[in-house]
C-alpha cells in the first residue's frame, strides 16, 4: 500500500518514485487518451470515471469499452478482460516470493496496484527476493514508490481525458507516447543476448498470432519466447542472465 508511512520514509521509496517518474509522462499521455477514448466510444462521464477508478487496467479497459457500448453479454466482456490481463497472472507468480511475508490483505492490494511498468522496474531492480526482513521491507518500499507514481499519473491523466474528451481529438495519436515509454523500458531490459532473443521472438509471435481472439496473441508470444529461451539455455549449457 503506497500511502503507508513505513514505506514512504525509506530511501528505496524515493528511488522507486524517480525510476517510475522517468515514464510518468508516457503513462500520463496513455491515460489521457484512454479517458478520451472511453467517452468517445459512447460511455457516460460517470461510467468512464468509475471505469478509471475501479478497473485501473488500461488495456483491459480499451478492450472492454467497445463491447460494453455494443451490449455484449457480461461474461464475454469479463472473459475478454481476463485474457487481456493474463500477463498479470504471470507477473503475480513472479512476485509471490517477494510478497509472501505480507498479510494477505496487503498482498492483494500490492498486486492490484502493480501495473506493467511497476512490475518491470521491480523485477529489474531486484532479481532475487529479500533474504531478511530489512531487505524485504526495502523491496516493498521500492515497489510502492513505483506504484504511487504509476497510479497518480494514470488516474489524474485519465480523469482529465474523460473531461476533455470533446476537446482532444484521438487522431492526434498522443497515446503513442505510452508506446514510446514501453519502447524505452524494453530497451533498458535488453541486458543479455537471450533477452534480446526473447523480445524478438515475442514481438514476431504477437504480430503473427494477431488474429487470435481476446488478445491471446500476447500470451502465445510470452509463452513461445520463454520456451525458446529456455531451450537455447539448455543447448548452450546455461548462460545465466543478469538482472
Amino acid at each position: 500500500m503506497f500511502f503507508l508511512a513505513e514505506h514512504r520514509r525509506r530511501p528505496e521509496y524515493r528511488e522507486g518514485i524517480t525510476d517510475q517518474g522517468s515514464v510518468a509522462m508516457g503513462i500520463g499521455a496513455w491515460g489521457l487518451m484512454t479517458g478520451v477514448a472511453m467517452v468517445q466510444s459512447g460511455m457516460s462521464t460517470l461510467e468512464a470515471l468509475l471505469m478509471t477508478l475501479i478497473v485501473y487496467a488500461g488495456s483491459a479497459q480499451l478492450a472492454a469499452v467497445p463491447m460494453i457500448t455494443a451490449g455484449a453479454p457480461m461474461w464475454v466482456i469479463l472473459a475478454a478482460a481476463f485474457c487481456v490481463n493474463l500477463r498479470f497472472v504471470v507477473f503475480s507468480a513472479h512476485l509471490r516470493p517477494y510478497l509472501m511475508h505480507l498479510p494477505r490483505g496487503q498482498r492483494l492490494v500490492s498486486g492490484y496496484v502493480t501495473g506493467d511498468l511497476s512490475y518491470v522496474f521491480f523485477a529489474k531492480r531486484y532479481p532475487h527476493p529479500g533474504r531478511d526482513a530489512e531487505e524485504r521491507a526495502q523491496q516493498q518500499a521500492y515497489l510502492m514508490g513505483n506504484c504511487a507514481v504509476n497510479y497518480l499519473a494514470w488516474m489524474v491523466a485519465s480523469v482529465v481525458g474523460v473531461f476533455l474528451a470533446n476537446v482532444v481529438p484521438l487522431s492526434w495519436g498522443l497515446g503513442f507516447a505510452g508506446i514510446l515509454a514501453l519502447v524505452g523500458v524494453l530497451c533498458s531490459l535488453a541486458t543479455s543476448r537471450l533477452r534480446v532473443v526473447s523480445a524478438g521472438v515475442a514481438g514476431a509471435a504477437a504480430v503473427a498470432a494477431w488474429a487470435l481472439p481476446l488478445r491471446l496473441n500476447i500470451l502465445v508470444a510470452i509463452a513461445s519466447a520463454v520456451a525458446i529461451c529456455l531451450l537455447i539455455e539448455q543447448v548452450q549449457g546455461k548462460e545465466p542472465g543478469h538482472g
Partner: protein
C-alpha cells in the same frame, strides 16, 4: 452524452474484480508453494517478452495487418526513440524524442 445504466456499472465493478484476480492471482493462497525451477528461470525472460508482445503490434500493424508503407510515423518515432535510448539511456528522453518525430509526421503529414 450517454446515460449511465445500472448494468454497465455492475459490469465495471466486475471488471475491477477481474483486475484484482489477475494481478493477485498467485498472491491469494497462504499455503507454502514455490514455482518449479524451470519456471523461475523462465520468468527472467517474461518481462521483456510481455513488453515486446504488447509494443511491436502497436508499431508495425494497423488493424492486425502489417503496415504496407514506410510512410508511417510510428516506425520512425519508435526507431528514433530506441536510438535515443541506446545513445543516452533514459526513458523520458525516449518518449520526448519519439514524440518530436511522431507528431510532425502524423499530424503534419498525415503519416
Amino acid at each position: 452524452m450517454a446515460d449511465t445504466d445500472l448494468h454497465t456499472v455492475l459490469t465495471i465493478l466486475a471488471l475491477g474484480v477481474i483486475t484484482l484476480i489477475t494481478r493477485s492471482f498467485f498472491l491469494f493462497s497462504d499455503r507454502p508453494w514455490t514455482l518449479p525451477h524451470w519456471a523461475q528461470r523462465g520468468l527472467q525472460y517474461a518481462p521483456i517478452a510481455a513488453l515486446s508482445a504488447v509494443v511491436l503490434p502497436e508499431i508495425v500493424t494497423t488493424q492486425g495487418q502489417l503496415v504496407q508503407t514506410w510512410m508511417d510515423a510510428r516506425l520512425f518515432a519508435a526507431a528514433a526513440g530506441a536510438a535515443y535510448f541506446f545513445w543516452r539511456k533514459g526513458v523520458l528522453g525516449t518518449i520526448v524524442t519519439g514524440m518530436l518525430v511522431y507528431l510532425p509526421l502524423h499530424v503534419g503529414l498525415g503519416w
